[in-house]
């Protein structure tokens, strides 16, 4: 009892410091910290099915966008608070991901084909969003501004957004860290290593993969609503574009797939790199994205297990 209490304090104090210190920083640093937290959270969610389960989903943008679109449409057209919409979004995404998972895993769509099916599902949603008037079409939706309002999930300063998203990211990382030794994650990793052997050992492969996908999708949906409320504007490229699917994958790879703290390491490096690249190529077309492409290729060829993998021998995290 006493030791578990100590452990909680051990986690709580650094978490509180992390959350509270930036409150005193300027807007620029807050923006960067919000981005780091958002990427950490999204990569952490993707990590469940992609890193631990080894199923390369290239369609997490669909979950992100569906979550954001659901809450925004409910708020815009029906005046329902995003605090309720966020959970409606989760339900919609859970249904969508269940459909996707049921189809993919029931018919044993694997590897490259799984990547392509998830990509196709994402594209389908993007095309629907572009061609539907009620969803704003390709112009997107600018949200009704309510000023500083807790019920409308709109805040005057970035501090509130920062506290929400960093708490989400840290809670997710800590939960996954604590959850890693569990049976579910062990099964998931066994499936990643060899699906047929896992099946032969009596693991219900379908059930484990299905649950992992749905859980990962539901967590991503929360980030979608957060991002929509943060920018107060949604359109198909920013919510459902290819980059929404690929960014979390890249962050995960930089940090180390399947590790608990990989997403955090990865997103600090990723966001830092992008900020530097952005300031180097100010105003030019696509300059920073050229470096982004190079970074992705370099990371996979030079250290395919990510930075955490590079230092794995010094830490207790195992693959």
């Amino acid at each position: 009892m006493d030791s578990s209490k100590n452990k909680i304090i051990q986690w709580l104090v650094p978490a509180l410091i992390l959350i509270l210190i930036p409150v005193f920083l300027g807007d620029y640093f807050l923006t960067i910290l919000i981005l780091i937290s958002l990427y950490t959270y999204m990569a952490g969610s993707w990590n469940i099915i992609g890193g631990m389960g080894g199923q390369l989903s290239l369609g997490h943008g669909a979950f992100f966008g569906l979550g954001g679109y659901t809450s925004t449409v409910l708020f815009q057209h029906f005046g329902i608070s995003p605090w309720i919409g966020i959970w409606v979004g989760v339900i919609v995404v859970v249904l969508f991901a269940s459909f996707e998972g049921l189809l993919c895993f029931r018919y044993k769509v694997r590897g490259v084909y799984f990547a392509l099916v998830t990509l196709a599902f994402g594209e389908v949603l993007r095309i629907i969003a572009v061609s539907t008037k009620a969803l704003g079409g390709s112009e997107g939706i600018v949200m009704h501004l309510k000023g500083h309002s807790w019920t409308a999930f709109q805040f005057g300063s970035k501090v509130h957004y920062y506290i929400i998203i960093s708490a989400m990211a840290i809670i997710l990382c800590v939960l996954i860290q604590r959850w890693r030794p569990s049976q579910f994650i062990s099964y998931l990793m066994a499936i990643r290593e060899d699906e047929d052997v896992a099946q032969a050992l009596g693991i219900n492969v379908f059930k484990i993969k299905f649950l992992a996908l749905v859980l990962s999708a539901a967590l991503t949906a929360l980030a979608g609503t957060f991002y929509a409320q943060y920018t107060l504007y949604i359109d198909p490229p920013s919510m459902l574009g290819m980059m929404c699917s690929i960014d979390p994958v890249i962050v995960c790879i930089i940090g180390g797939m399947g590790t608990a703290w990989g997403p955090l390491t990865g997103s600090i490096i990723f966001v830092g790199f992008m900020e530097i690249a952005n300031s180097v190529f100010k105003g030019g077309f696509g300059g920073h994205l050229v470096l982004y492409g190079l970074l992705l290729m370099a990371v996979i060829i030079i250290f395919p297990r990510g930075l955490t993998g590079l230092f794995a021998r010094y830490t207790s995290e195992k693959y």
């Binding site: 080894g54 390369l56 290239l58 189809l103 993919c104 018919y107 044993k108 769509v109 590897g111 490259v112 084909y113 990547a115 392509l116 099916v117 990509l119 196709a120 599902f121 594209e123 389908v124 095309i127 629907i128 572009v130 061609s131 290819m242 690929i246 994958v249 890249i250 790879i253 030019g284 077309f285 696509g286 300059g287 994205l289 050229v290 982004y292 492409g293 190079l294 970074l295 992705l296 290729m297 996979i300 060829i301 395919p304």
Partner: protein, 289 residues
């Protein structure tokens, strides 16, 4: 109804399908025989279009003479790409291969954005608009030529793989790389060659498409997903199947466009893809084992 709407849609669909086929044929070689799902293939097509565009604007001769420049240039480009990048990925997990090619796609697209600017460039040549009139629509010569060249490219690739020594060696590598090595096949050389062919085909596809489409840096992304759909429908490494799948998708899209609002027609290939992948993951034209 049939005469006025469906028949032109089908013919248009076949022509569009052959364009998709031009792009998918290189991809099919790359995925089917080397196992690499190259997301950057559409970007190589885009580079081929820019090469053709600048060849035409700088030299002023008939645009199709660009074939003498584009094919050798992209052959060499393919050798470089293989030697500098994909050589390291042959034994890597599929996931890493995909992500490396996505990295290449982002790199090439944005480099093109920096160099060529995001504007759309089109060829302004009067004879390209001419063609055979067919009902109310005109089938332009450039599209008919693209169709004919697609047939030539597909059949020459099939013949190459079936009868030539190198083609047989390539198929042997795809079946069992170690076995091929034991038989004395120079595996790295064969892979380098087939990647070069892939890139040369991509460049040629760009050349043939440019006269009726125009080019901008992200045009590759609009093809690439459709091309993936086609090679999966056609079946892994089945060049002939790829052609039929391309025509099928082209016709389905054209028919979709006549019966649905225009932007929803892009959904048709994806829906076909999802349905086929679930029920016949080995491809439409492969007998279920």
């Amino acid at each position: 109804m049939f005469q006025a709407e469906v028949l032109p849609a089908i013919i248009n669909g076949i022509l569009t399908g052959s364009v998709y086929g031009l792009i998918a044929v290189g991809l099919s070689l790359c995925f089917g025989l080397m196992g690499i799902l190259n997301f950057a293939h559409g970007s190589i097509v885009m580079l081929g279009m820019y090469a053709t565009y600048y060849f035409y604007t700088l030299s002023g001769v008939n645009v199709y003479w660009a074939i003498l420049l584009v094919v050798p240039l992209f052959f060499i480009f393919g050798v470089i790409l293989h030697g500098g990048l994909f050589r390291f990925m042959l034994d890597a997990p599929h996931n890493n291969q995909i992500l490396v090619s996505i990295g290449l796609l982002i790199f090439v697209n944005n480099l093109a954005m920096m160099i060529f600017s995001p504007n759309v460039r089109t060829l302004q040549i009067s004879f390209l608009g001419q063609g055979i009139s067919f009902g109310e629509s005109i089938l332009s010569f450039s599209r008919l030529l693209a169709f004919a060249m697609a047939l030539v490219m597909f059949s020459s690739l099939i013949l190459f793989l079936k009868f030539s020594h190198t083609g047989k060696a390539l198929r042997a590598c795809s079946q069992n790389r170690d076995g091929a090595k034991i038989c004395g096949i120079d595996v790295p050389k064969i892979y380098s060659l087939s990647f070069a062919i892939t890139a040369a085909f991509a460049g040629l596809a760009g050349l043939l498409i440019l006269p009726f489409s125009g080019v901008y840096p992200e045009i590759g992304d609009t093809f690439i997903l459709t091309a993936f759909i086609i090679i999966v429908l056609g079946g892994m490494g089945r060049i002939g199947g790829t052609f039929w799948a391309a025509v099928l998708i082209g016709v389905a899209e054209a028919l979709g466009a006549t019966f649905m609002t225009s932007s929803l027609k892009y959904l048709v290939p994806f829906l076909i893809f999802i349905i086929v992948l679930l029920f016949r993951p080995a491809g439409l034209f492969v007998k279920a084992s």
